[in-house]
């Protein structure tokens, strides 16, 4: 460990921070320094990238001769040690707990710290029973439900007006349907979603309204990554939020489509926040936009750096999916999605950028170039 004078750049604290191995005091000191030092922020990103490369190295199967030589039974070589998988899971969970801090890039005419919990709630309680043309906001959504979500990072409960999407199921999915078991005393249709032949999701749709009553997301080995289950359902006539004007106040362009066949199904105003809602027919994606510069110090811990196309953002987990946060051209974006994270990232990365480069964007680009120069990325 090195002794560090105030004002010096961070050193091995960066690895300690990424590994979640700093004391509370050290964490505060490191975060405070990072919030004001673009150099260390770029260093953090570069070390994080290197660390991820090593952590992504695949497991290596021993040659069959090894255990024969060790006189152990050589018949069950490819059985995966369950403890290894548990360790891998533990490391994923540990990575999710890592604190990463946002640098306040722009001279803040107005600094913004999105209320992640509030935006997640807004996403989870979204009404999407409109057609892609932003019409029919007066249609009754039909159903209110109490949802219990169990994910790798915890559990959450919401009273929601669930997404009822009329967007066709995107061509990227192979879907088969069959009559399903009742959920919350309601008849369902069982939908199996396959990607490249592998079962990715199983969804129980309410037979009458099309509302998702249960959703199980699987990993490649068939394990349940997360499950959302509607525990109570009641018919209701909750009004939809007020649709924003098409221009959304001139703040952001709300594209009609995002990568992954996400179609825009609504644009709403929630106070100073514009809420754009997209659907690929199976998953909802909310993109919230608010003007200003990202206020680093007010964000919760637990975020990780993430690459979103040419932008660098921050990734948080919530039990029902993923939250991505980034700033572009004086606008802070927060995307909340319940699709597999790579799909959410791809869709978020395809949000159009403003052409004008703010000072913050220029600083960020320079840092990114530096990070790429040293990591080969």
């Amino acid at each position: 460990m090195t002794m560090r004078r105030p004002g010096d750049h961070l050193d091995d604290e960066l690895s300690g921070l990424l590994d979640g191995e700093l004391s509370a005091d050290e964490t505060v000191a490191a975060r405070t320094h990072l919030a004001g030092c673009a150099f260390c922020m770029a260093e953090l990103a570069a070390i994080d990238r290197t660390r991820t490369l090593v952590r992504s190295l695949p497991a290596v199967d021993p040659p069959t001769s090894l255990l024969a030589r060790a006189a152990a039974a050589p018949t069950d070589l490819d059985a995966r040690p369950p403890a290894r998988r548990a360790a891998v899971l533990a490391s994923i969970v540990a990575a999710a707990a890592v604190l990463v801090v946002l640098l306040q890039w722009a001279p803040a005419d107005r600094s913004v710290s999105p209320s992640l919990a509030g935006l997640v709630q807004a996403h989870a309680t979204s009404v999407v029973n409109t057609d892609p043309a932003d019409v029919a906001a007066d249609q009754p959504p039909g159903v209110e439900a109490h949802v219990h979500i169990k994910g790798a990072t915890g559990e959450a409960e919401f009273d929601v007006v669930p997404v009822v999407s009329r967007v066709p199921v995107a061509a990227k999915y192979t879907v088969t349907t069959a009559p399903g078991q009742p959920v919350a005393d309601r008849p369902t249709i069982d939908v199996e979603v396959r990607e490249q032949g592998v079962l990715a999701e199983r969804i129980a749709l309410d037979a009458e309204t099309g509302v998702v009553l249960r959703r199980e997301l699987y990993d490649v080995s068939g394990g349940v990554v997360r499950m959302a289950l509607v525990e109570r359902v009641r018919m209701t006539h909750t009004p939809a939020p007020t649709p924003a004007h098409r221009t959304a106040g001139g703040l952001v362009a709300a594209p009609s489509k995002l990568d992954g066949d996400y179609l825009r199904v609504g644009v709403y105003r929630r106070g100073r926040v514009v809420h754009m809602l997209f659907s690929d027919g199976l998953h909802a994606l909310s993109v919230f936009a608010q003007a200003g510069a990202l206020a680093a110090s007010d964000l919760p811990g637990g975020g990780r750096l993430v690459r979103l196309g040419s932008k660098t953002g921050y990734h948080y987990d919530w039990p029902g999916g993923d939250v991505l946060l980034w700033e572009s051209g004086g606008v802070v974006y927060t995307a909340v999605g319940d699709a597999p994270v790579e799909d959410v990232k791809a869709a978020a990365a395809s949000m159009p950028q403003r052409s004008r480069l703010s000072i913050g964007e220029r600083v960020r680009r320079r840092c990114r170039a530096l990070a790429e120069a040293v990591t080969g990325g």
Binding site: M1, T50, L53, L57, V60, L66, A72, P81
Partner: protein
């Protein structure tokens, strides 16, 4: 393995943890022959040491044995300079694996492995135990018999060198 059961036989350990052990050994040595030798040595030590194993983190215990065996081997090699790992990463490209191991080898991200091999042994051990074996700084400190602050420093130095090598 549950607390109230007898210690596992070394054959059980070998079978159940072969992949984990071999992965750590291969990441440390970068060579299938050396990795096999290292795992053999580890299994010997497991065989001798199982009586003293306290139910708990089997993989932490195995990592400790693996790392100690690795570091012992490196110390032994240092006394034979011809076998020492060269400092120049260009010269430590893994040898072509035998045909029966080619399949496993060709799927490896060779650049990262090569960069790992370019690290000084102490740094490589710290990085592999952290990022491959998934141990905490505390566990790594116990495995290497160094303070936690030194663990952090070695991991960070190691990552910084990897980053340069991969640039």
């Amino acid at each position: 393995m549950k607390d109230n059961e007898e210690p596992p036989s070394w054959e059980d350990v070998a079978r159940e943890h072969a992949r984990f052990l071999y992965t750590v050994a291969y990441r440390l040595t970068g060579d299938h022959d050396d990795a096999q030798d290292l795992v053999q040595e580890v299994l010997l030590r497991v065989r001798r040491g199982l009586a003293t194993y306290q139910p708990g983190s089997m993989e932490g215990w195995l990592s400790r044995i693996t790392t100690n065996a690795f570091l012992d081997e490196m110390r032994r090699r240092r006394r034979r300079p011809a076998d020492a790992l060269p400092a120049d990463p260009e010269r430590v490209l893994p040898r072509h694996p035998p045909a029966d191991e080619a399949l496993a080898a060709e799927t490896l991200p060779a650049d990262v492995q090569t960069a790992l091999l370019g690290l000084p042994d102490d740094f490589r051990a710290a990085v592999v135990l952290c990022d491959v074996a998934g141990l905490s700084y505390q566990e790594i400190g116990e495995a290497l018999d160094i303070p936690v602050g030194t663990v952090r420093s070695r991991i960070h130095r190691g990552r910084a060198l990897l980053r340069e090598a991969l640039a």
